[in-house]
């Protein structure tokens, strides 16, 4: 039987020939869905499918090859299902087995060429499991692994390159270690000893930068290769007995062992090139162990291979279904082994592992919030409790948690609460009330309450917390207008403020505003400019205070105000000092409403009232020192950097597109002259393309220079601030490691981590100009850790 008859409906409706594309769709569906919930057993479904595919090989071989290669790469959580299927096909059709292996090797090489290293690992694992299905001969797999391990002998290559080959080898062993060791124990022992010596000599400077907690208790956070090595060593000690992985091929052993095996072609690893980008090292996140669920099944130990396999598979499920939250939740919860492992704990741990991953989570943060909510919906009797337990544990360990991870914890927890009427046992956290407000625990609660308020309103937050927590409650987000009260009439500029208020209410134009502002004296005595348009802080103060106060009602009102009086803003903020002062006044007016500050700064950058460097300087200014460790400040800074990065990309894209248009224009010129008159005339309208390209080239260079300058300013200010603190501590004989210092040094790390791709371009400048050997070793260490990430 072939696919054209599967599910084809009543025979009398059966068409003589089905459309090829229909059959291809059906093949895709059959292959992708095998292993899902079914009335028949997995084994019988696999057998049936193998029969169907075998029958379709004559007509659809290349399509079937392609589908199987794709699922090998994209559905790693179903690895053994598909290796079994390939095993059955190989047993029925030896040539097909050979062609499949060749196709997989081609795909592997392709992946490595385009830096798709994560997918490449799945392909290697698939190939290794094919040994268990008698498709690939064990000795040839060992030979491939020998090739992988020999990469560690290469000279002048980044450590992350060797790391990948080592990881690809080690992470396949849970599946195939037993078989390979049985067939080639001497070779395997040699490989393992080479592995051990590589792992001993590789440097691990990068590890502190990637750890979620700085403390090793209760769970050490190991570097990922170290952890995997411990797991493999334990596996070897257990004589390679691995009992967690589902192996459908065991049921077909009698059929499969009759099959002829193929040898892998000799594999040469693609050489390292300038363009090669290897995966970043990782630290394994652990928050649970067997003591956390005393009632339920025992959680496999941190160095057990079961733990590795479970975590790998759960991560793969999220990777496969991240766009479909309901499917993702359902797939996670239907992970096999439900009664033998505390699945809910594993799921929660894996999700937080991704959420807290440094430098960045694999997926957008909000996905994890919504996924956890879906999981709570599907398991309302058990998952919420595990989540609450996890939250409690994370709170308990805040003192040593990385600041970036605390940010994510704050965002997750506040958003989560907003979906559950903000219900939480806040009294359980009363211990934080007696601590200094800058300590991590009370700071965390303050930031959470502030975020909760943003999703609701001030009074709601007052209502949901016990009265004792009022010291941690956010300020009422009201605007502070210095010229508001009659009692302030002695302030300079007060009368002008009144004038402005009336004028603006009467829909004054920009020109009228300018003429009113002319009357404002300049406290800077040196100004001789008749126009009065040079930096006049009082003018800025009066105008910005008044306007923002009048537009305070909502974001839209404020944005309208910025748009309407854009000209005035641009003129007042023309100089760098002007820009800085505008930002200062915005802060003075809206310091109770950080969210408003953030959106105003965003709008002012986008409308070019201020530039990114001004925002950076403002954040590091002494006026903001009091708020320096508050979350909203860093949200503003990172948003600013992202805008700068997007701007550079946008202009670059414009340049590339214009170059492409020029290339097309040349092509047309080279061909028939009579045709395409319309195209040529439209080109003429835009101006000569060569000129455009030149202009865009300048724009790109200028933008890139602005981008580099932004990072240099930020790093410079960090160095100044941190050095000041370190010197003060040294001379005063006090401990360097205050909450402020921890926060500040981790914020510096965060800049490196969150924008590492861009910053890589500036390594030489940074090393020669800023992060030189004279720098205090505390600060230099951050730079060195960053360098080690891709070394």
């Amino acid at each position: 039987r072939s696919a054209r008859y599967v599910g084809a409906g009543q025979p009398h409706k059966r068409r003589r020939t089905s459309e090829p594309s229909e059959i291809e769709e059906r093949l895709e569906s059959l292959i992708c869905r095998v292993g899902e919930k079914s009335t028949s057993s997995l084994e019988s479904n696999l057998e049936g499918l193998a029969g169907v595919l075998e029958a379709d090989l004559p007509n659809y071989k290349s399509k079937i090859l392609r589908i199987l290669c794709t699922v090998a790469r994209l559905l790693p959580e179903k690895l053994t299902v598909y290796t079994t299927l390939v095993g059955l096909l190989n047993a029925r059709n030896y040539n097909f087995g050979g062609e499949f292996v060749e196709a997989m090797i081609r795909q592997l090489k392709e992946c490595l060429k385009v830096n798709m290293y994560n997918e490449a690992v799945y392909l290697v694992r698939f190939l290794s499991d094919l040994v268990n299905c008698h498709v690939i001969a064990a000795p040839s797999m060992v030979a491939m692994f020998e090739n992988f391990v020999s990469v560690t002998q290469e000279e002048d290559v980044p450590q992350v390159r060797c790391d990948w080959y080592m990881f690809a080898f080690l992470s396949s062993l849970p599946w195939v270690g037993k078989e390979l060791y049985e067939k080639k124990d001497a070779e395997m022992d040699r490989l393992l000893s080479q592995t051990e010596s590589y792992l001993k000599r590789r440097q691990k400077i990068h590890v502190p930068m990637l750890q979620v907690w700085t403390a090793d208790k209760p769970h050490p956070q190991e570097e990922y290769l170290d952890c995997l090595w411990s797991q493999i060593q334990k596996l070897k000690k257990d004589r390679w007995q691995e009992r967690h992985i589902l192996r459908p091929y065991l049921a077909f052993d009698s059929i499969l062992c009759e099959a002829l095996q193929h040898n892998l072609p000799p594999f040469t690893s693609p050489p390292h090139t300038e363009d090669s980008v290897y995966p970043m090292p990782r630290v394994i996140f652990r928050m649970f162990d067997y003591t956390d669920d005393p009632e339920g099944p025992v959680m496999p130990g941190s160095h057990s291979v079961e733990r590795f396999v479970i975590e790998e598979n759960l991560h793969c499920i999220i990777k496969s279904h991240w766009k479909e939250r309901k499917t993702c939740a359902a797939q996670l919860l239907s992970y096999p082994g439900n009664n033998k492992i505390p699945l809910n704990y594993h799921i929660v741990e894996v999700i937080f592992a991704e959420l807290f991953q440094l430098p960045s989570p694999p997926h957008i943060e909000v996905m994890y919030t919504t996924l956890l909510i879906e999981l709570c919906k599907l398991q309302p009797g058990s998952l919420p409790q595990v989540l609450a337990q996890a939250t409690e544990m994370l709170y308990m360990r805040l003192d040593t948690m990385n600041t970036t991870c605390i940010d994510r914890f704050i965002n997750w927890f506040s958003h989560h609460l907003s979906n559950f009427q903000f219900r939480w046992s806040w009294e359980d956290w009363s211990d934080c009330l007696t601590q200094d407000l800058e300590k991590p625990k009370p700071k965390f609660v303050r930031e959470v309450l502030e975020k909760c308020m943003r999703l609701s309103y001030h009074q709601r937050i007052i209502d949901i917390v016990p009265a004792s927590f009022s010291v941690l409650s956010p300020a009422n987000p009201v605007c502070i207008y210095k010229y508001g009260d009659e009692s302030n009439r002695s302030l300079p500029g007060y009368t002008v403020a009144l004038c402005l208020t009336i004028a603006i209410k009467n829909k004054a134009s920009n020109d009228e505003i300018f003429s009113i502002l002319k009357d404002v004296p300049n406290p800077n005595q040196d100004d001789d400019d008749d126009e009065g348009f040079t930096f006049n802080p009082l003018k800025i103060e009066v105008f910005v205070q008044t306007l923002l106060h009048l537009a305070a009602k909502s974001f839209s009102h404020s944005f309208s105000a910025l748009a309407k009086f854009h000209e005035v803003f641009k003129t007042l903020a023309e100089s760098d000092e002007g820009k800085l002062h505008v930002l200062r006044v915005v802060y003075e007016v809206w310091k109770n409403h950080p969210q408003m500050i953030a959106v105003l700064v965003d709008k002012m950058i986008r409308t070019q009232i201020v530039d990114c460097a001004a925002v950076a300087n403002w954040i590091f200014s002494s006026e903001l020192a009091h708020d320096f460790t508050r979350f909203y400040i860093w949200e503003i800074l990172h948003s600013t950097i992202r805008k700068m990065n997007k701007h550079v990309l946008k202009i670059h894209k414009e340049l590339e597109e214009t170059k492409a248009r020029l290339a097309r224009q040349h092509k047309r010129r080279d061909s028939d002259d009579d045709d395409d008159d319309d195209d040529r005339s439209s080109d003429r309208e835009d101006g000569p393309l060569e000129e455009q390209i030149e202009r865009l080239q300048e724009k790109v260079e200028s933008a890139q220079s602005e981008q580099k300058n932004l990072f240099l300013v930020i790093f410079q200010r960090f160095i100044m601030l941190l050095t000041e603190h370190l010197v003060r501590c040294e001379t005063g004989g006090i401990d360097v490691f205050t909450p402020w210092y921890k926060s500040c040094i981790e914020r510096l790390q965060q800049i490196f981590l969150q924008h590492h791709q861009i910053i890589q371009q500036y390594m030489v400048t940074l090393e020669n100009l800023l992060f030189t050997a004279e720098l205090d070793h505390h600060i230099l260490a951050v730079f060195q850790q960053f360098c080690a990430l891709q070394a």
Binding site: C32, T70, M116, V366, Y457
Partner: protein, 166 residues
């Protein structure tokens, strides 16, 4: 750049449509009946839109709250509050426009169907804001759904308008 194209081809799951399922970000069955233009044009706009319609808001939900929530999937370009045509007060819906379509897609995937102000909100693709579309289309000035509903909803003016008039 060649590498990027190859990578894109490999990442997109080839032609395996089953593996590319993205139901939350797909177009819904709803089509705005007041849209001026062909059905084809409407769907073309919906497929490249960066604007979302957001429904089932409380009348008291503010632009600030909406900005905070929808900001979680990317930078919000503009929020336009839906207004009662007569009273010119919020009537429980809004438009959220992003700078990038990908950010709007993430809102459809992760914010649609979750709570804002304790209410499950619903998002859908919108062909783009045009002046006049910020007003409710119900006879009394609010949204159509509030004209005829029979239940009591404290966040949406209490009983439906028809019920109120009885």
């Amino acid at each position: 750049k060649e590498k990027e194209k190859e990578k894109e081809k490999m990442c997109s799951g080839g032609t395996l449509s089953i593996l590319r399922s993205d139901s939350y970000a797909d177009l819904s069955q709803y089509r705005d009946q007041h849209f001026r233009g062909t059905r084809y044009e409407q769907e073309r706009l919906l497929r490249k839109s960066c604007t979302l319609y957001v429904g089932n808001l409380s009348f008291y939900t503010t632009e600030e709250q909406i900005h905070e929530l929808f900001g979680k999937s990317g930078d919000v370009k503009k929020i336009i509050m839906g207004l009662d045509k007569v009273k010119k007060t919020a009537c429980g819906f809004c438009f959220v426009e992003y700078y990038a379509r990908g950010d709007a897609e993430n809102a459809m995937r992760y914010i649609n169907g979750t709570r804002l102000d304790d209410r499950i909100i619903r998002t859908d693709w919108d062909a783009g804001f045009k002046e006049g579309r910020q007003y409710g289309r119900g006879r009394s000035g609010g949204q159509v759904r509030d004209e005829y509903r029979q239940d009591y909803d404290a966040g949406r003016g209490g009983y439906g308008k028809t019920v109120q008039c009885q």
